[in-house]
Amino acid sequence: MKTELRTALRIGLLGGLVASHICLVGMLETFAKRNLIGDYLSMGYLLLLTLFLFVGYKATQVAQKAATGLLCAIIAGGITGASLSDLVFLTQNFQLREIFAHASPALVKLLTLGQSKSLGLLIPIVSGISWSLFGGFFALLPKLWRRVLLNTLLLTLLLGLLRDILNSLLPGDFGKTLFTSSGLTYIGAGSSLFCGGILIWAFLTYREQQKLKPETSESRNSPLQKLLFSLLILFLLTFPLWSKSFLSNVADSVGLYIIMGLGLNLVVGFAGMLDLGFVAFYAIGAYTMAVLTSPSGIFHFSFWQALPFSMLIAMSGGIILGLPILRMRGDYLAIATLGFGEIIRILVISDFLKPYLGGAQGITNIGKPEIAQFTFKNPEHFYYLILIGCLIAWFIASRLKKSRLGRAWMAIREDEDVAQAMGINRVTTKLTAFAIGALFGGLSGAIFASMVDSVVPKSFDLLISINVLALIIVGGIGSLPGVLVGAVVLVGLPELLREFQEYRLLVYGAVLVTMMLYRPEGLWPEVTLQHILHKTAQPEFPVRPLPTPEKK
């Protein structure tokens, strides 16, 4: 009991710290401007609410008995709420604003729901306790219900967040009943909770039953999966037709990051070589395209003529980088590749190459792809080009993963010395990883250059390398679907939530830290890694009978 109370105290204080932080950096105010459900639940309140629920959930989880657990939740939630009340009190009575610019009357109004002084102070505490109590009840639910509830809530929030995409899908009147100008209406939220809940419940129970059945080839390609798959394809193919130009733009950058991610995944995920300079190949691809097609240059190639060169030159870049660092491992490798990325950027911006690469001004008027009479001009057109690029990259990556070369990469990743002793050629194996990875980077860069019509050194800074690496890790290192998920989450979502640009890196950092603590294997991990990281037993697979050796 004593230790449980102590834990509850700790969780409450931590929660209070986080809550105050969210308020003082101004996140609450900014996020409160966007309403997700009706005009009551804003994203700002959602932040605090989630925090309260989580505090309650965690506090209950550590306790042995249900009653103690709920008591812990009340204590923890109360403390978290009280620290917000404290914040309100301090803001009202002292000049907190001189230090914290965001400790404003507007913040107080948000936290007290506009109530008068004394009643207002009570409001954070009361809501903290009640929401934490909900979190506590949530922790006590059976696992299936917990998952249904959690997924339904997430689905509803996602629908609210993706309002722009979804609303453009629906006919006007129908859209108006479900969506407000920034999120869901109450009817929309209610129907999402209801229908989503039923669907998710059905899906989860269905999957549980499937798990019990022995796995057959039929169950892998069930009609449901086929249906979902066809819907996905239909969605992808028609996306630019019904969405706004802005959304195609977002989809384009997600696609470019997917191609890069698939490339870097070969190097980092499969072959286990940490490459922090991947942007170099993206830049090489983009600049090659620019130099070869720009009318100010001397080549005047068309897009299609220049594309293979962009990829090949990027690939040579990969080999040139690969050669000197073959012997390096781990940290040293990371630093060396980091240097390579910077070298390319500095070369591009240098006076020395200015006559050819345009220095800081870069190169403009880059060739557009043409097929017969049709020219790819706007984001909607490029969407299809990028989609094809993604599919090709995906196909190559998935084939490579199962190939002999893929096996060799994984062996090198696991243990370089042993891999060599198994007869794997370290030099060629590592170089092909760098080369093919760079090829993908070059492809992505070439399309990017043509799409935005100009290349400037500023577009190729270190942040791109970090982004690509982060999306691989968040998605699940070494996993191909993970790259897609990672790109959508780390590239797509931030683009959709543009109004919160100034907090983007803060949220980004928080997401990465949380992910590494609670789900280090990524959102869509490779199966083996998941079992190793969580020390869970692997499901027993039926062992296929092997031929017994013939007796000699």
Partner: protein, 234 residues
């Protein structure tokens, strides 16, 4: 079959092997015993090409191999079960074994050998689709040996197969080593457990601070007062 001639190897500045010479004949089990830091693993890594000797030569079936890259040496039929197992943790048992046959093209032969190895180590059959990292120490050792055998080596080198295993498992592993040898594979066995190693070996060498100090038929070494005093506790 395998001959080391006055091999000198260095770890950076450290002179680890100071003129090591020995031979392994076809069909033998030869053991190299010695205490920690004597240079046993260095010797093995020099043979497999992971460390390049500064001087001396290594001959395998009459040809020099000391200037070849590790994967070339592996292709010639020298297979290693490394110290501390070092299996591929994120690959399944099956994939680990298949990695052992990386340079073989004869699919039928690979299937045959796979089946035979699973016969030799029934535990591996039970764990066939589990990732290597989840196996116990003994199972990992079996996997390392099995993986080395999958290349159908002419000579199998084993680096401390008894390390960290319970006595009953050690006995089991050593019995399997004898079986493998009887099926025609030459074995170079590196061990700290001198008693066990010498009891199954044909000949033995004693390595001390990078030099061979004693050699002879395993039986004689087992009886030698010098060995008894240093390695077998009197």
């Amino acid at each position: 079959m395998l001959t080391l001639n006055a091999i000198h190897s260095y770890y950076g500045q450290i002179h680890a092997l100071k003129g090591v010479s020995f031979t392994v004949e076809k069909g033998e089990i030869v053991t190299l015993i010695g205490s920690n830091g004597a240079g046993k693993t260095t010797t093995l890594n020099t043979i497999s090409g992971l460390i390049k000797p500064r001087s001396g030569e290594i001959l395998f079936e009459g040809q020099r191999i000391d200037n070849l890259a590790p994967h070339e040496i592996a292709k010639r039929g020298i297979s290693q079960s490394p110290e501390g197992r070092k299996i591929f943790g994120r690959m399944t048992v099956r994939e680990n074994l298949e990695m052992g046959a990386f340079n073989r093209k004869d699919q039928a032969g690979i299937r045959h050998d796979l089946a035979q190895i699973l016969e030799l180590f029934p535990r591996l059959r039970e764990r066939f689709n589990q990732s290597g990292g989840t196996l116990s120490g003994g199972e990992q050792q079996m996997l390392a040996i099995g993986r080395a055998l999958m290349s159908r080596p002419r000579i199998l080198t084993l680096d401390e197969p008894s390390m960290g295993l319970a006595p009953i498992l050690v006995a089991q592993i050593f019995k399997i080593i004898c079986d493998i040898n009887q099926q025609g594979t030459t074995i170079l066995l590196i061990e700290q457990n001198a008693q066990m190693a010498l009891s199954i070996a044909t000949r033995g060498y004693v390595l001390e601070t990078g030099q061979i100090v004693l050699q002879g038929p395993a039986k004689d070494l087992l009886a030698s007062p010098q060995v008894r005093k240093a390695y077998l506790g009197g």
